[in-house]
Subunit: 232 residues, 4 copies
């Protein structure tokens, strides 16, 4: 059942290792089939070398396992909280990739310092508030999701497909598991660019609203003219 979804989620997970965003069993990717009400996610603690589509765990929207012999990722409740609140997304990715994680550990949003960033994210990459001790003790992974949702109260997740969880690391999302991984690759790239930019010029400001709009909107939205058109 849901072979296509399981394969897509498995491939997206393995792509994390190919892009050098993870080591050992770190990180996880999920995908959702909203019409079927099924979420597919990486099993917990399994190395990417050993991952195959039949090991992907399927859960219903209540969080009950409907297929799979293995425990799902311990971050599953975070994924579910995002799927419940961000209607437009169908894939989620989490890693500890070095540049994005360094910004998350520094509890600093990534300022929009150039057009590479603006091509992909419509503003600075937000960072969550730290999670309170009692929210850590109980339902920690669910509360991680809630901290993300709280941070996005005024942000459109379709225009900002990434977040830094303070003291922890990045989550990205998109229209599919594969797209979430592609966004993670790009986030890692712009996180590294921003770090080096501020080493060269610690006082560098963010780019203008005009330049942000031009670059984001020439690739996204109704008037986009980058690429080969809407069928892409």
């Amino acid at each position: 059942m849901h072979e296509e979804l399981k394969k897509a989620v498995c491939d997206a997970n393995i792509e994390l290792q190919r892009k050098k965003l993870v080591i050992y069993s770190w990180g996880n990717v999920s995908g959702i089939d909203r019409s079927a009400g099924i979420v597919a996610i990486k099993p917990s603690g399994v190395s990417y070398d050993d991952l195959t589509a039949d090991k992907i765990v399927l859960l219903d929207l209540a969080g009950k396992i409907v297929e799979g012999q293995l425990r799902p990722s311990s971050d599953t409740p975070t994924h579910f909280e995002l799927y419940r609140n961000f209607d437009s997304i169908a894939g989620i990715c989490h890693t500890h990739s070095v540049n994005a994680t360094a910004w998350a550990q520094a509890c600093r949003e990534i300022p929009c310092l150039g057009t590479t960033h603006a091509d992909n994210f419509y503003g600075p990459i937000p960072v969550t508030e730290p999670i309170a001790p009692d929210e850590i003790k109980n339902d920690y992974e669910l509360n991680t999701g809630k901290a993300i949702i709280k941070r996005f109260v005024d942000i459109n997740p379709a225009q900002m497909p990434a977040v830094l969880v303070a003291n922890h690391g990045p989550f990205t999302w998109g229209n599919s598991a594969g797209e979430a991984v592609e966004t993670m690759v790009i986030l890692e790239e712009i996180a590294g660019l921003a770090l080096k930019t501020l080493v060269i010029n610690p006082k560098q400001k963010q780019i203008s609203k005009a330049l942000l709009d031009k670059h984001y909107l020439r690739k996204h939205g109704e008037s986009a003219y980058y690429g080969q058109g809407p069928e892409e």
Copy 2:
């Protein structure tokens, strides 16, 4: 038609990925056949994995597509502005490679801090002025080219085959598409060298005019004695 030019431009684009200067569909390379009045350029938003010579777009000097099923790179008007103003060049390259882009995002020229730089560029790598909001809204890519031309009013593009577009990234050029890519590889290397040099010694000054002249001119110009002579 123009199979040789298309193949050279396709190969130069693919070389960007091989040298790890680009990810996904980022960056673009073009070449010009001045006698035929034809520019060949990468199609917009196409991944390097999928790029073949028959996908390269051909345009005449008025900017009209004369061959190709795909839209040309969105940066095409920038390339055209450079070809119109820099008579000596026949290939152009644009990337978001990390070290050079960090300097561009920092809006800082790359000072000439050593002989590696002087072997290849006759002075600091210039950075453009930021582009004004109204120049961003309309004809943005053309105005990017104009900002480069304005910055080069007193600079010889044959001796300085690179520029940093402020808040954006590097462009390089040369006698062919392939040479433009080789210069981008070297720019990325010296951008990384300069960053690390200033981390070690933030007060380091540029090298002397005597050392710059010696290294640049032993490889370039009439008295060059590096390499195997003019037939190279």
Copy 3:
């Protein structure tokens, strides 16, 4: 004799090179069979390209060579001091990997700045006191081990499987030679993360005790729920 131990120790040594933690003959891994009273260790100054299981040196607990044509690693007395004092460990690894060694050379413990660190180490990575000149002149390698033991007087080596020897580099350990190497890979990763975190935000503090406990204990100890359970 002890073919399995020799092979495991040989494989673990070669893994160091595969993970790019060592060059040439740098670094060493050992393993112990406590029931047999035998330690297996890399021979001194042998390149990883030339290493085979039959070159692994076997010693008894008195430090006498019981098998092998080559001299054991010059760091052997350090390994022995750790095996004598840390009952729970069965493998030790030493490298000069760049990020962990930079922290060791800086004589700074690695603060626990994020959940990646907390997933694997229960607190900051300790650094030893410098070794006194007379302890350097005689029995230097033994005294290196003693400096580690002294630093761990109040630390449980099962919860903190790594140390930075001041001015020198890291040692890691675990339930096997292979596990010691895996911990070294992770130490190198979190050392790089910590360095970049402090470049972005030099004033960043360590994570809370609540977050450290949550992450360390969800992977380790009785209530662990990360991974596929205790049989892993």
Copy 4:
């Protein structure tokens, strides 16, 4: 003639590319057969991809080409000055590898910050004085060699097989072309270690004389006990 020397020098040059210390035609390695009075060196401006043993240039001690169709490296007079003054060496290597070159461009000696450094170099890596304008204009490459010799008036080149030429980059040497390259690989590693160490702790001092002596002398000299003995 001298096929063995040409092959050794060719292999050592190609090793530079394999170790990622050079791009394109950058860098050069030479070797000397002192009994025959012959120096073998890389031809100028030839890419490592195209290098074969029959392209290696042979010169006599007066600097006259005795075999080879190509011009020798433009740095040949620097190599000759070193061979004339350092009796104990038989191979020389020059690169623009990023970490060592950054220190050279910063005009800073590399302090001895750890045992990795002390295992290989008996003190800080020296940097030359800048070369005066009139020494740049005429016989520049010879004067580069003289600046190195001047810096080594009180340093034993057998115990310090590396130098940083100010504003330029590193030279290393050894008992053969291959050993000079191995020392360059190690210099690049310790240059990167030193840079990161000072980012973590800008006030870190050099290691003690006792620790330097212990590590250098346990690998080098009469009482060495690292490795498999003098036959190595």
